[in-house]
């Protein structure tokens, strides 16, 4: 009986493996439309359909941070986007800062203040972004805060100065756009629950077309000051297919001025 069970179990595992292998085979078989220069065409307006910006880990729904907002601010549940595990490999000494960030997240999350999102967070913000692809340069333009990245596809260049959005050198591996990002400052976060990095952050992003209207996004995150080893997140990106889709302005500075400067007004705002 025990043997039978094992056999049945093994067969089940094989069946599962076969099933799991199918989408992978389908992915590698997909060949993206070409640009005039022969590279895969990634042009379009893209967005995630997940809750990674709330928390990269898998998480159940939870009470929000602002009582007045009720269910509008409640954290939606999500399966998580961390590959091969649910935990981020923080160095023991780096945990205290994560804890502090979490406790002060309503005040300290750069997103609350309309600061630039950094990379990879820009990708999974709940706003679309647009890729405009040329041969030597690819422009990534994000609706949130008007953040922008210029990807250098020519000979790699060294970051001249630290910045929020980092310094991006890209190259092609088959149909996959690989972007190596360095030159970060230590100020952006990875999600709304206080996951963070230092200025030693190094991100390698991989954008792989998987169908006409989806791409796989992977980011390997390495930071020897904060994490004990490199770790990886992955998620699909979805194309905005609506007619005449376009990024609109989300210049959020004016929405956070009351928060940042309200107490410095001559008279309190009538309708805060």
């Amino acid at each position: 009986m025990r043997n039978q069970f094992q056999t049945a179990g093994t067969a089940g595992v094989w069946a599962l493996l076969a099933l799991a292998a199918l989408p992978v085979a389908a992915q590698t078989a997909y060949r993206a439309p070409r640009m005039a220069d022969g590279h895969a065409n990634l042009n379009g307006i893209w967005q995630v359909m997940n809750t990674a910006n709330w928390d990269l880990r898998g998480h159940a729904a939870a009470m929000g941070r602002v009582v007045a907002l009720g269910s509008e601010d409640a954290m939606p549940p999500g399966l998580g986007v961390i590959e091969g595990g649910e935990e981020i490999p923080y160095l023991p000494a780096a945990m205290a800062k994560r804890e502090q960030n979490y406790n002060n997240r309503l005040k300290d999350d750069p997103e609350v203040k309309c600061y630039l999102p950094g990379v990879p967070r820009a990708t999974y913000m709940p706003y679309p972004f647009q890729i405009v692809q040329s041969t030597k340069t690819i422009m990534f333009s994000y609706e949130y805060a008007g953040a922008v990245r210029v990807i250098n596809m020519d000979k790699p260049t060294k970051s001249p100065a630290d910045s929020w959005m980092g310094w991006s050198n890209g190259h092609w591996e088959g149909d996959t756009l690989v972007i190596d990002v360095t030159g970060f400052n230590e100020d952006s976060w990875l999600d709304r629950v206080g996951d963070y990095h230092s200025d030693a952050l190094h991100v390698v992003e991989r954008y792989t077309p998987r169908s006409a209207e989806t791409m796989n996004y992977e980011a390997t995150i390495e930071d020897s000051k904060v994490f004990s080893r490199p770790w990886k997140i992955s998620m699909p990106l979805y194309r905005h297919v609506e007619k005449n889709a376009q990024l609109l302005e989300f210049k959020c500075v004016e929405f956070v001025e009351e928060l940042l400067y309200g107490p410095l007004r001559k008279k309190p705002r009538a309708n805060p």
């Binding site: 333009s141 008007g146 922008v148 910045s163 609109l248």
Partner: protein
């Protein structure tokens, strides 16, 4: 903003030193030697390089710094003309001291001996309509009265929302005058360093946004006329004013690469609530090998909090002084 500025301080010091030695008695070396206008006439047979999909290639990083004022200075305002005076202009024109300042001594500047960017016969913007003059006066009076009340009455650049030069129409911001153009199928993107705004311009013939969707920088659509990119922008808000305009501002820009290193930028603006007729201007952008740096403005904006808390401190001091006097 503050980062870049700091990085340039040592350079600024060396410019100040050079200035004292008279090294700027001649035009600075970074000013191109052939006028951009001359290139337009000399290069009639020249055709711009093409992108992989056959469109004129406008891509690269361009400096839109210029030593030419938007409007021709009025007669009799002292100073010395840099280039040959044009018929009917004052021979003795004071340009702009900042041409030897922080940015224009460091970035490339297209040689341009015209006396105004505005192309009207007198080089001046047409007079504003009476309603526009009243609006401007009311705006100015309100600002004088309330300039330190809160963030909304501070300039948009101090709020890190928009640089006044960003437009459209786009003019030189005075420093960090860098613009990068990238072209993809059906789109042209124009990123201005000040302040990291990317204008994404579709060239697929789509209509403008619905009239109730208004944006700080309007809504731009483009098309190609021969080798010229023509960009049409509407849907502005009433929160910005280009030379006193309203939300009915309509801007048409024309981008033409006239030489490998020179892009001609022309614009025409109209607004039935501001001017009796449309008016136009033209400037030249120069190719540069420099990068666009990240202008993180909001992220380092200590100025707003400092200004407002300073204003509150001044008010408290005045109240205290008044109290003491009344004792």
């Amino acid at each position: 903003m503050h980062y870049r500025f700091r990085a340039l301080l040592p350079a600024l010091c060396s410019v100040a030193w050079l200035g004292t030695t008279g090294a700027f008695a001649q035009a600075p070396a970074n000013v191109a030697k052939t006028t951009a206008a001359a290139k337009v006439t000399e290069n009639k047979a020249w055709t711009p390089p093409r992108t992989a999909d056959g469109k004129p290639d406008l891509q690269g990083v361009w400096s839109n710094a210029t030593n030419v004022p938007l409007e021709r200075p009025a007669e009799g305002r002292g100073g010395r003309a840099r280039g040959p005076a044009q018929p009917g202009t004052a021979a003795d024109v004071h340009y702009d001291l900042s041409q030897y300042g922080l940015d224009r001594a460091h970035s490339k500047v297209a040689e341009d001996d015209r006396t105004s960017l505005v192309t009207t016969p007198d080089g001046r913007i047409p007079p504003r309509l009476p309603e526009a003059q009243q609006r401007a006066a009311a705006r100015a009076a309100f600002t004088r009265e309330h300039q330190w009340d809160g963030p909304e009455t501070r300039p948009l650049s101090e709020r890190c929302i928009l640089w006044p030069s960003e437009g459209p129409p786009m003019l030189s911001p005075g420093y960090n005058s860098n613009v990068q153009i990238v072209q993809g199928p059906g789109y042209v993107v124009i990123e201005q360093e000040m302040i990291h705004d990317a204008r994404i311009i579709p060239t697929d013939g789509r209509p403008h946004l619905a009239a109730n969707v208004r944006q700080w920088m309007g809504d731009s659509t483009g098309h190609w006329e021969g080798d010229t990119l023509v960009v049409d922008t509407t849907n502005f808000t009433d929160k910005t004013a280009f030379q006193g305009s309203t939300d009915t501002l309509h801007v048409v820009e024309r981008f033409t690469r006239v030489a490998n290193d020179t892009l001609q930028y022309e614009f025409t603006v109209e607004d039935p609530h501001t001017w009796a007729q449309p008016w136009s201007a033209k400037t030249f952008w120069t190719k540069t090998d420099d990068h666009i740096y990240e202008y993180a403005c909001q992220e380092g904006n200590h100025g707003m909090a400092n200004n407002l808390s300073g204003a509150r401190a001044v008010e408290r001091q005045a109240e205290e002084a008044a109290r003491k006097q009344s004792k």
